[in-house]
Amino acid sequence: MATTKKKMVQWDPAHVKAELLAKYPTKVARKRSKQIMINEALENETPEITANVRTTPGIITMRGCTYAGCKGVIMGPTRDIVNIVHGPIGCSFYAWLTRRNQTDAGTDGENYMNYCFSTDMQDSDIIFGGEKKLAQAIQEAYDLFHPRSIAVFATCPVGLIGDDIHTVTKKMKEKFGDCNVYAFSCEGYKGVSQSAGHHIANNQVFRHIVGENDEEKPGKYKINLLGEYNIGGDGFEIDRIFKKCGITNIATFSGNSTYDQFASAHKADLNAVMCHRSINYVADMLETKYGIPWIKVNFIGADATAKSLRKIAQYFGDQEFIDQVEAVIAEEMPKVLEARADVRTRTEGKTAMMFVGGSRAHHYKELFNEMGMKVISAGYEFGHRDDYEGRQVIPDLKVDADSRNIEELVVEQDEKRFNPRKSAQEIKALEDAGYEFKKYDGMAPDMDKDTLIIDDLNQYEAEKMVELMKPDIFCAGIKEKYSIQKLGVPMKQLHSYDSGGPYAGFEGAINFYHEIDRLVNSKVWSYMKAPWQNNPQLSASYGCE
């Protein structure tokens, strides 16, 4: 096994920042400079970072597109909706089972996760329009599967040629009568990253599905879990814990989700938000329209899981429920602590970097902390300023040309269904006791002073960072994985985890400890050089001697 000796790599953040910018043309350097922040770690005095802005053309970015955020991330894990991609074949092909969203077909047996549907647009469709083909494709899907819902996703050319996908889907919905059909204008060129796609997806789910099913749902402590995508089974682990605690999860947005879960989401009494970036606006809309308060939770990290469960219990306030949650935590924690103590003998003091997602780079810090590891640099691929600096900056966010064309839904109280779950007095009493609603402080206050917070890190900078700061582990996505590992540094994917999981909840924490222990202490990193490369002098004697 590798030793636990701490690597002493000295670096000065200002120097690292200067090095990252040195090679760029002036304009690029100026722009990147605002996205690289040396953290002050002082709450309220956190310097401003530039985020959610365009990536410079030619710079090898980690980011994807709006379609990827809409179809790939948000709608991808829904199992009983037939998701048809309207466009040339590629977009649907690449989003086909590649995100490791696990699903359970459940008792109804509906599961289209393993299928890939596309209108496979041809040049004639581009020239003459693709609306007829889309209508026909929807009809064929309906005839073959009779699903309860069909969703349509626009790819780049659809917006350009002006196919009216919303009218097509509306007509098909009316024609079928028993199948909800709707569309997402999530062309890849919209916005600056996947983030715009999350927004477009969530808006349409809210507009077309939420509130459709008014049936009462059984359960005493009913919540929705927002922004949890069941990568590697994370959602399954969280649901296991919920069940033990007596929490009824009405709807997960959107890991292993069903149409009916979305349709019934307004029946929950609390919204628990995991991924702030992808879904905080849905939480706001659910509150405005239906009167359901929301809180930020985090089920990444065992301590964070316990804290989040307590927060849920405190909201409902029943002593019996609070006791049950405490009993579950007491039952789950010993094996977590045992695993933690074991791995810490090998992970203590090691360093990590995380450049991923819009929340994950913050959430996973919990797990590294639990292992005694230090996050020396982090950033989001598609986060906004509030994900770095906290929600208090939202009113100050600049609305630029790219964010302006992403629709903001204006939501009002639903006359029939609005029901404030807590009275103003009850909310105030909770807040006076230190309870925080709709609060998220972001990544920056959680990072140490002089660590580097970098938005939209690119391949060149990633390589430089590894070279200069020599972390023990680097976390990003599949595209970054092997260039980092070629440098002899293990790389863990935190989008889709490479393999394995879950990493959420208590079981997940144990899995993560073991996985990081395996990665940072693997023997393979000691094999970079052959014996003759380490010691190239010739010492043999000639055969004739």
């Binding site: 710079i59 994807g64 597109c65 060129y189 599949i478 002899g488």
Partner: protein, 457 residues
């Protein structure tokens, strides 16, 4: 059941593609471009295209895949992507300093009518392409053809670099088509063995099967050099392997540089390898060494040794046209019966070739170009097979129908080896045969009752 909603009854579909057996052009252009030494592929479109192609290639090769993008926004989609492309060229040479940029279009930039050739000219005029550096481009609209077409288009653009000096270089151009880095390496081994000097392009060996040594080279040592590509115009001839992947580039060299060409099937299996070796021998003016005849003999030997397990075994195949034509011939040559054959790539000629190859087979053959894996699955439900050969997505059908699967083609996302062990040539055919036999015999060992379970097979 993973594909539980797939009915046995086949109904006509004219608009909905389900479980495609192809993807779009740009990824093929990107893969081909990685076979040029010092090349940075560039995707002229939204960021997502580039991200998806890089991810798909990375998952298949488990290697870094660098490529840049024009990062289109709504504005560039309205006003054209020229400004983005020019900015990209400047940044790429400043930050990454490749020898050459190989840019391809996407459905987005094609739909708005961006012309990369014209943008390149502008970049040259504005001095954005430094001296001694290059840029090539290919038009790869995603709504035409498939990933195979995109590969072919980029290889054709490589041939566009060819110059004729009037003095022949004594070399044969070999265009391998979309095969694995290991296959390209094997083709080079075979040409070396024959003693024919060749220029192989593209060549992803040493690029997408690199070592782990603690050093990251954004531009690995492998790949066909630009100098070699320029020199293809002086070669004595071109062998293009695969009509779909390689013919266009060979014809380009023929028309533009008067380099005569021959289009062959990809050298998978006995007969196609025979034709490749024979053509190379004649074009290069050499005789075939005994070691190579020995390799051929070993393959024939293994086919004869194991024929009892292969005879009349039914196979379902899915993949790309050039690969499927050669594989179908290989299977038929061993008295196996490929009965269901699907490619997502369009081409009536594909169906004709397959029908020709399978003419004398004792079973009806289902073949479809521009088909999908949903149809393949339905065919299998109606007429079960003993073996499936295709990419990783086949494992959903294989598990549901309980049929052995040999992974072959693109993408392979759940097994290793394709980067390192070739399936072209005689040695490659031996490996294919080993895999096919392994799958069939593992199945036999699993299914045989105790009474007939055998030690010696």
């Amino acid at each position: 059941m993973l594909l539980r909603h797939t009915p046995k009854e086949i109904t006509e579909r004219s608009a909905l593609m389900i479980n495609p057996a192809k993807t779009c052009q740009p990824i093929g252009a990107m893969y081909a471009a990685l076979g040029i030494h010092g090349c940075l592929p560039h995707s002229h479109g939204s960021q997502g295209c580039c991200a998806y192609h890089r991810s798909a290639l990375t998952r298949h090769y488990k290697e870094p895949v660098s490529a840049a993008t024009s990062s289109f926004t709504e504005g560039s989609s309205v006003f054209g992507g020229q400004a983005n492309m020019l900015q990209a060229i400047e940044n790429i040479f400043a930050v990454y300093n490749p020898v050459i940029i190989a840019a391809h279009t996407t459905c987005l930039s094609e739909t708005i009518g961006d012309d990369l050739k014209q943008i390149r000219k502008k970049a040259i005029t504005e001095g954005k392409i430094p001296k001694g550096k290059y840029m090539i481009s290919a038009s790869t609209p995603s709504y035409v053809g498939s990933h195979v077409t995109g590969f072919s288009n980029m290889v054709k653009s490589m041939a566009g670099l060819a110059e004729s000096t009037g003095k022949k270089n004594g070399k044969v151009n070999v265009i391998p088509g979309w095969v694995e880095p290991s296959d390209m390496e094997e083709i080079k081994r075979l040409t070396n063995m024959l003693g024919v000097k060749t220029i192989l392009f593209p060549d992803t060996s040493g690029v997408l099967n690199g070592p782990l040594s603690g050093e990251y080279k954004m531009f690995p040592d492998g790949g066909t050099t630009v100098a070699e590509l320029i020199s293809t115009g002086d070669s004595i001839g071109t062998l293009a392997l695969g009509e779909w992947c390689s013919a266009a580039a060979a014809h380009e060299l023929d028309t533009k540089n008067k380099v005569p060409c021959q289009v062959l099937d990809m050298p998978f299996g006995l007969k196609a390898t025979d034709r490749f070796i024979d053509a190379l021998r004649i074009m290069g003016g050499v005789s075939v060494p005994d070691e190579l005849s020995m390799e051929r003999g070993q393959l024939v030997d293994m086919i004869s040794d194991m024929h009892q397990y292969l005879y009349h075994k039914k196979v379902a195949l899915v993949g790309d046209p050039d690969q499927l034509i050669a594989m179908t011939e290989f299977l038929v040559s061993m008295d196996m019966c490929p009965v269901h054959i699907v490619t997502g790539t369009p081409g009536k000629e594909f169906e004709r070739r397959i029908k020709e190859i399978t003419e004398d087979m004792p079973f009806e053959v289902n073949v479809k170009a521009k088909g999908d894996m949903f149809l393949l699955h339905q065919w299998i439900k109606n007429e079960p097979v003993d073996l499936i050969m295709g990419n990783t997505y086949c494992k959903y059908i294989a598990r549901d129908e309980d049929i052995p699967l040999v992974r072959w083609g693109f993408p392979i996302l759940d097994r290793q080896g394709h980067q390192y062990f070739p399936t072209v040539g005689y040695k490659g055919a031996l490996r294919l045969l080993e895999k096919i036999l392994g799958a069939l015999q593992d199945r036999k060992d699993r299914d045989d009752p105790e009474t007939t379970f055998e030690l010696v097979l």
